[in-house]
């Protein structure tokens, strides 16, 4: 059975993520051990709370290098919501240095829309990797607008176009919550697990 190491950056909806993996037929477990994260077959970086809290948690546990190394060496790694934002360099949400895998700054949605964005939005994907078009559940106040060329993006539109998810090889990062996006989201998790 496939086993997913969930990086324990806080609690929030970890139970939903674990229930989601269970539906795909995989097992998951929580860890805050850098060695486990470095060697695990699959790693999930969930997103809870604020950008600063997430960065501080990663650094206080000494997980920064293990996470960057996984992503740069194309080991199966998934990030959800704040997890995606933590891959960037910085965020308008506050000070704190992200993992820097993406040379981008996370921006807040503009005041022309309700913030946070809560609910289902339509994802447009080109379908060359794991990502497919469909409806996904979002719960975010901040987002990325662009990604580097080596990443395959999927976009959605709220106040303006924003990054709904990105993928590069075995690394998948979703601004939406696949574990809360019904059968479409569970199928995405399954495709990622199956490589």
């Amino acid at each position: 059975m496939k086993r997913v190491a969930i990086c324990s950056t806080g609690i929030a909806n970890i139970a939903s993520v674990q229930a989601g993996f269970k539906r795909t037929g995989a097992e998951s477990f929580l860890t805050e051990d850098a060695d486990v994260l470095a060697s695990a077959d699959y790693v999930m970086l969930p997103g809870v709370g604020s950008f600063n809290a997430g960065v501080e948690r990663i650094d206080s546990l000494g997980l920064r290098e293990a996470l960057i190394e996984r992503i740069e060496s194309d080991k199966p790694t998934m990030a959800i919501c704040l997890g995606l934002q933590l891959l960037s360099e910085e965020s308008e949400e506050g000070a704190g240095v992200g993992l820097g895998v993406l040379p981008q700054k996370v921006e807040r949605f503009t005041d022309s829309v309700r913030v946070p964005q809560f609910g289902w939005n339509q994802v447009e994907a080109r379908g060359s990797g794991y990502l497919e078009a469909g409806w996904a559940y979002f719960a975010n106040s901040y987002c990325l607008r662009e990604v580097p060329a080596e990443w395959n993006p999927a976009y959605a539109t709220y106040d303006d176009r924003f990054v709904a998810a990105i993928e590069r090889g075995r690394v998948l990062a979703c601004q939406f919550h696949p574990e809360l996006s019904g059968p479409w989201g569970i199928a995405l998790m399954k495709r990622w697990l199956e490589g």
Binding site: G10, I11, A12, N13, I14, A15, S16, A19, G20, K22, R23, V48, G49, S50, C81, L82, D111, R114, V115, P116, Q117, F118, G119, W120, N121, Q122, W135, Y137, F138, A139, N140, S141, T157, Y158, H177, E179, L180, S181, G182, P183, G185, I186
Partner: protein, 250 residues
Amino acid sequence: MLASRIIPCLDVSNGRVVKGIKFQGLRDTGDPADLGGAYEAQGADELVFLDVSATVESRDTQLDTVRKVRERMSIPITVGGGVRKVEDARALLEAGADKVSMNTAAVLNPELITEVAEQFGRQCTVVAVDAKRTEDSWEVVVSGGRKPTGKDALDWIEEAANRGAGEILLTSWDQDGTRSGYDLDLLKAASERVQVPIIASGGAASSQHLFEALQAGADAVLAASIFHDGDMTVGDVKRELAEMGVRVRP
């Protein structure tokens, strides 16, 4: 673009779903996990589940129910009822809730909203407001509508949002259980006052009522008896709303 959310609500007491008129005269209509799973299959966008009898003694039952519902569902679950301190919120989130809703305890101790938002994030923090019409505004009522608080509902909604509420579950105490439609003036006033999403609650009996609430400014509509009675599925309602021009997730 974002779709308007259709949210069935399950009132739960001791692990069973009930729905009464104005929260009195409860009658038993089923198992929360069965109903939740059925609603997800029908196309529900989220599920709200309120423990209407939440007491310290029923806490374990409530957590057990949340676990069972979570196992069956892959859409967001909001749980409310009996959240009095940060530890209550944590227990619900660990059991499988995605958001926790606070009502009376937040009115008595507004700092609770701040603490929950700081601990778990705005996206987990829902404040439920029960509002009752006064001559020229609305007053917050608590304890199942029995106790007036003297607080202006719109001011309270604004304070809750400023303290970290990610959305407001706004129930019209005058309309709840009447099946005569939502309090549209309340929804309009509330949605203009704050930037966070407003979930309309109280009074829905038809797709037309849901449509009116969304037109008035609600971002999501919550309904219970309209779906529980089995007259209409969530899918039926969504099709009707789509025909009226509302953007819904198919």
